[in-house]
Structure formats: C-alpha cells, structure tokens
C-alpha cells in the first residue's frame, strides 16, 4: 500500500513520457488528407504543352495513375524529379503533372532542363484545382486507382525509400 504512493506518480510520469516520445516521431507538416478513399475531385484544365487541349481525371478511368503536383519555383521538386524520371523510364505507372501556380514559360523551360517524366501536365495557374485537392505545399503526389479513388497521398518529395516501401507495393496491389 505504501509502495503505491511512489508507483502511481512514477506510472503517470511513464505514460506522459511515452506520449511525448510518440509525439517526437510525428511530423506536424504531414497533415492526414481527408481524400484517402474518396473520389479524386473532377476538374478540366488546359494542358501545359498544348494550351488549347484540356485534360480531366475521367480520361484516366480504368488505369492506376499518379497525380504529381509540381512547380518550377518548388525547390523540393528538384529533389524528387530524378525519382520520377526513373519511374517514367521503367514505365512503372502513368504520371500526370499538375503544374501548380506557375508561369507557362518557366514550367516548360524547367521540364526541358530537368527532363519530363509526365504523360502530360496540366496548367493550374491560379491554384484553384490545387485547393480542391487540399494541396498546401509542392511536391505532393496522389495515387489514384482504376475507379478514380484516391488511395494514397505523398506529402513532400517521393523519396526512393517511400517509393520502395509504400508506393510500389500499393501500385502492385491496385493493379492486381
């Protein structure tokens, strides 16, 4: 009974430590997306390279694909770009680029410099479609399944690790 007096505060302290330790492992910038498991919002945007042609997500129905948000002003996109180029070379999955709040000329020049891994890019100049997808920082990548449902959102660059551990297994499952 007497030991309880010492054990209880120690236990409370221990629980507190566990909570704080878990808190340290979480990145506050990774806001869970409310879109997981929901249909990708519809939009119709002009293509980056052909301003008179448009694209909407419906055109990808029946395919598993990635929607990658990028911009020429986005620093982390440069980190991610070699991974996307590599995925494109290996033909892993069709990638559609959402060029977010960018000047058309800057965007096309950037793709010339760094390579263009995209099946096509659409031009979201005012960022409206970005808001519809809950984008708050490029790069962001959505994995969309054959029915047009968003299955996963990568916030920040796709690292080789995230690709191996999360995205590739998911793509395999969705394509099965």
């Amino acid at each position: 009974m007497k030991a309880l007096k010492y054990i209880v505060p120690l236990a409370v302290f221990g629980v507190l430590c566990v909570f704080l330790a878990i808190g340290l492992t979480k990145d506050p910038r990774q806001v869970p997306s409310p879109f997981i498991g929901k249909p990708a919002p519809a939009f119709t945007l002009a293509k980056l390279h052909e301003p008179q042609a448009t694209f909407s997500p419906e055109q990808m129905k029946g395919k598993v694909w990635l929607l990658n948000v990028w911009a020429s002003w986005c620093v982390s996109c440069r980190v991610e770009h070699p991974v996307l180029n590599d995925m494109n070379r290996k033909g892993i999955v069709p990638i559609v680029g959402l060029n977010y709040k960018d000047a058309r000329a800057d965007a096309t020049k950037w793709l010339q410099q760094h390579g263009d891994p995209y099946q096509l890019s659409v031009w979201d100049n005012d960022g409206k479609v970005g808001i519809d997808y809950g984008v708050y920082g490029a790069p962001e990548t959505f994995v969309i399944d054959k029915q047009g449902i968003i299955r996963y959102k990568q916030i920040g660059p796709i690292t080789p690790e995230a690709l191996e551990k999360t995205i590739l297994p998911l793509l395999a499952r969705l394509n099965a």
Partner: protein, 158 residues
C-alpha cells in the same frame, strides 16, 4: 509623446494599406465576414498562423476563395465545411468534438475531476486515521505511563 506618435501612426497606416492592397475594391461587409471566418482557419504552410494573419501565397489564395464564397452567399458552416473537406479538421483552430479529439476535449476536465477526487479521498482517509486511532484502555494506559516514566529515569542527567 510626439516622438512615439509618428511611428505608431505610420505602422497603423501601413497595416491598413496592407489590408486594402490585396484586392482592388474591397467590400467592407465581405471583408468583415472574411475576417471573422479567416481567424478560425489554420494556414497549412505556416501552421501556427491563421489564414487571416499569414501572408503565405496559400493563405492569400484561401482568403480569396473565402471571399468568393461569401459573395455567393455561402454560410459560415458551408465555408468551414469546404475547408475541412479539403484539408481535414486540422484546418480548424477550434477542433470539432469527435472520436479522435474526444481525449483532447474531455481530458483536462477528467484530470481536474480525478485530481480533486483523489485529494478528497486522501484528506478524508487522513482525518479518519486521526479520529479513528484506538484509545488505549485503562490497563494499557498504565503500562504506557509506566514506560514513559521509566524512560524519564533513563535520561542521562544534565
């Protein structure tokens, strides 16, 4: 006082200028409602600021979006719904009560209630211990007094 006044006035006028520069012809009614709503919405780029306080491009876009929705006659509820549909509950500065946030809302109250009841129980136990100590019967009392007396004798003389 004069010397203080000038920078204060300058700061105030700059603040006003900053406000009106965002759009060409601000409608005071729309701006007032925008202000009240924007103070409840978190800017996701600079997470500890509201979209009313932040100058991040995303905050500017979201303010613009809210302005548009106010002009369309959307209610505050609808505007908040629009934001949580896209950014999740995290966008609200005042999180809603649901399964995930229950601990957050109820926790402090539980801690207070728990703390006070623990205190109450402890104090009552202590008082009972003081009151309920067995009073020695006559024989035992004599024994105690004898012991005390002998103890007195055993004391070394100063």
């Amino acid at each position: 006082m004069r010397r203080l006044l000038a920078p204060i006035l300058l700061a105030a006028s700059l603040a006003a200028w900053g406000q009106s520069a965002e759009i060409a012809n601000p409608d005071p009614k729309v701006e007032a409602r925008l202000k009240s709503i924007a103070h409840e919405l978190r800017c996701l780029v600079c997470q500890n600021q509201t979209i009313a306080d932040s100058d991040a491009p995303l905050a500017v876009d979201l303010r613009q979006q809210v302005r548009g929705m106010i002009r369309e006659g959307k209610s505050d509820e609808e505007i908040r719904g629009y934001m949580t549909d896209r950014y999740g509950d995290f966008v609200l500065y005042k999180p809603p009560f649901n399964a995930v946030t229950a601990v957050l809302w109820v926790g402090p109250a539980l801690l207070i209630v728990g703390g006070f009841s623990a205190l109450f129980v402890m104090l009552r136990r202590r008082r009972q211990a003081a009151e309920g100590a067995p009073s020695p019967d006559a024989a035992r009392r004599r024994e105690i007094e004898a012991l005390l007396a002998s103890d007195e004798d055993a004391k070394p003389k100063a």
